[in-house]
């Protein structure tokens, strides 16, 4: 899948991030190609989410360049970033649904803000998107506080795809889900990519998700990219942290399961 002919959706060059004295990212280079499902993995606290937040302009790196859709984003004002922000959807780890709004209002709000479509069409489209994420129809009129963790995650995904984005950024899409729902998210991510040609970048710890849906994976550790490639390539790499990650007891189980399925 290392198709360099396809244009890069996200390109990160020489990125350095520091929190005070603590170096989070040390000269990171990454490229996410169009139509690719790209995953960022690494131990807790290695700066995966920080990298995601830097891409989203929520965190300012010390130096380096981040290009999204071929445009430099570091230093953009909120106003300048608006056209870019309309083109990607984000799902936060804990959902970040607006608790004062129902699920369908959460989705509609994005559409109302950025399109002039009629109320009726927006409502219909919002319900389609909620149904796409596998939520039952009656969940649409509930408030986030009334939903279970897994349903909240799906609702957050529905809001992320509200504007039919070209790029989807998912922070831990399957964390805290039961295996069945997690498998549902796997399917959903794949079908979204296949049907819409989306590019997807996700941060995850879920080895099943990694084996089943990702095209390429980057392993982050000690502030560096330790390895980047398909899961098969990564699983052959010699780096101790990568081996630890993929060949720990749980890594092996996920690996074996996938091979059994194949």
């Amino acid at each position: 899948m290392n198709n360099t002919a396809k244009p890069a959706i996200i390109e990160i060059r020489n990125l350095n991030t520091r929190f005070g004295e603590h170096v989070v990212h040390d000269n990171i280079n990454l490229k996410v190609n169009q139509g690719e499902i790209f995953a960022l993995v690494g131990g807790s606290g290695c700066g995966k989410s920080t990298l995601l937040r830097s891409i989203l302009l929520l965190e300012k790196p010390v130096s380096g360049s981040i290009q999204i859709f071929g445009r430099e984003v570091i230093g953009l004002s909120d106003e300048q970033a608006l056209p870019l922000r309309r083109r990607y959807g984000v799902m936060f780890e804990r959902g970040a649904l607006f608790s004062a709004l129902t699920v369908v209002e959460n989705v509609c709000m994005v559409l109302h803000e950025h399109t002039q479509l009629s109320k009726r069409l927006i409502d219909e489209v919002a319900r389609i998107k909620i149904a796409l994420t596998g939520l039952p129809a009656d969940a649409a009129n509930k408030y986030p506080g009334e939903l279970s963790g897994g349903m909240r995650k799906r609702a957050a995904l529905a809001r992320a795809i509200a504007l039919d984005p070209e790029l989807l950024l998912l922070d831990e899409p399957t964390a805290g889900l039961d295996p069945l729902s997690a498998a549902g998210i796997d399917e959903l991510v794949l079908s979204l990519r296949n049907a819409l040609g989306l590019s997807i970048m996700l941060v995850t710890h879920d080895l099943d998700l990694l084996w089943r849906v990702t095209d390429r994976v980057a392993v982050l550790g000690d502030g560096h990219i330790l390895g980047c490639g398909t899961m098969n390539e990564l699983s052959k790499m010699e780096h101790p942290i990568i081996r630890e990650y993929f060949y720990g007891p749980r890594g092996r189980a996920a690996n074996e399961q996938i091979w059994k399925k194949k």
């Binding site: 859709f69 009629s118 069409l121 389609i128 796409l132 408030y143 506080g145 819409l196």
Partner: protein, 384 residues
């Protein structure tokens, strides 16, 4: 559009044209361009006003469709469905395989039951609900007061179970840290009263009575009330917000599972601390208010500080001072209980935290003023 890579906002647009019917009587509708969410506004408007020909067969020709997303696919499907309901035979042709997949996806997740909002309740219904809510509110508030009182009495019986650290912490945040604002406002209040009184007293040559005016009004009424209102705004709201947020993050439940009664650790220390802090703050406010009055008396009426003091000891009896201070523990209990109670009433969302915090301040100030009025009647009756 400024950028070549900016495909989505590039000047492609979505199109919809009805062409003439061909010899077999089939009307063909050309769907073209990019049917994506940001460019569908014209299509939607066109579809709203379109007059469909009365042909039996209509073909939606999508061969020149260059982009389609979920919204576009839904609009396409909805159009086809509407036409089918009008007894047309509809065919969608020329769709690229990936677009066809998308259409299938949208079709499979479309719910056939249209959304009907639950009817809004009638006037009588709403009145009933409100009344029931108020009654519930009252009983749960009484239950909360009762529970807190029992726990408080229990902890007084077993002093080792009182959380002194928490009390000291609350004393600092609700008492000590409130000193500057309470002092400043009382000082200004004393000045304002002296200023308002000065012109009236001057007319009668009764300058010296400024001490009576400032002393009695500040010590008996204004200082306790002003301090209570400031503390309700500062600390009562903080209690509600803190407990409310803890409820949202399930910390309250965690306390229960650890075997600690939430009221014991969250309510009692706050209440005890405030019952200690508010009278002290009020004495401080009395002093600041008198100082303000003295400054104004000196500058407006030429009443020197020692004359003012001399007059004050005649004008204000110990009973007047004590009636002022005596009310404040009650005010403190009201503020702490209302703040904590509203905090516990938070349910689930950030909005709820905000709402209960607001209610806590409004309710605390309201109840403090009511209590003050009751005290006035009581003191009058007791002739204090």
């Amino acid at each position: 559009m400024e950028n070549a890579a900016d495909i989505a906002t590039a000047p492609h647009s979505a199109g919809l044209e009805i062409s003439e019917r061909n010899e077999s009587g089939v009307v063909s509708v050309q769907c073209s361009g990019t049917w994506i969410v940001r460019q569908l506004i014209h299509i939607e408007q066109k579809l709203d006003h379109i007059v469909w020909p009365d042909s039996k067969e209509i073909t939606l020709n999508c061969a020149s469709l260059s982009a389609l997303d979920i919204t576009g696919a839904w609009l396409l499907r909805r159009t086809a469905e509407t036409l089918r309901q009008q007894e047309h035979q509809v065919k969608i042709i020329g769709l690229r395989p990936e677009f066809d997949n998308l259409l299938q996806l949208v079709t499979s997740s479309a719910t056939d039951t249209p959304f009907t909002p639950s009817p809004s309740p009638g006037l009588l219904n709403r009145i009933g609900q409100r009344t029931w809510q108020s009654v519930n509110n009252l009983t749960s508030m009484l239950a909360f007061i009762g529970e807190s009182t029992i726990i408080q009495l229990q902890s007084l019986a077993h002093p080792h179970r009182i959380r002194w650290r928490a009390i000291l912490h609350n004393l600092q945040s609700a008492g000590f840290e409130a000193l500057p604002i309470v002092g400043l406002l009382s000082f200004l209040m004393g000045m304002v009263i002296a200023y308002q009184g000065a012109t009236q007293l001057q007319r009668f040559g009764a300058n010296i009575f400024i001490a009576d005016l400032v002393g009695l009004s500040m010590l008996r009424e204004l200082s306790p009330l002003l301090t209570a209102i400031i503390v309700a705004g500062r600390s009562g709201s903080a209690y509600a917000a803190q407990i409310g947020t803890m409820k949202v993050t399930e910390e309250i439940d965690a306390l229960r599972t650890i075997g600690i009664r939430p009221a014991e650790i969250l309510v009692i220390p706050k209440m005890l601390a405030l019952i200690i802090a508010l009278p002290l703050l009020t004495v401080y406010a009395d002093l600041a208010g008198l100082l303000g009055g003295m400054v104004m008396a000196y500058s407006k009426l030429d009443v020197s500080f020692d004359v003012f003091f001399y007059r004050l000891s005649d004008a204000v009896s110990l009973a007047s001072f004590m009636t002022g201070i005596g009310k404040t523990p009650v005010f403190a209990a009201i503020i702490a209980l209302v703040g904590c109670y509203q905090g516990f009433k938070v349910t689930g969302s950030a909005e709820s935290v905000g709402r209960q915090t607001t209610i806590s301040v409004v309710q605390a100030i309201f109840l403090v003023i009511i209590a003050d009025a009751i005290f006035s009647i009581l003191f009058n009756w007791l002739k204090i």
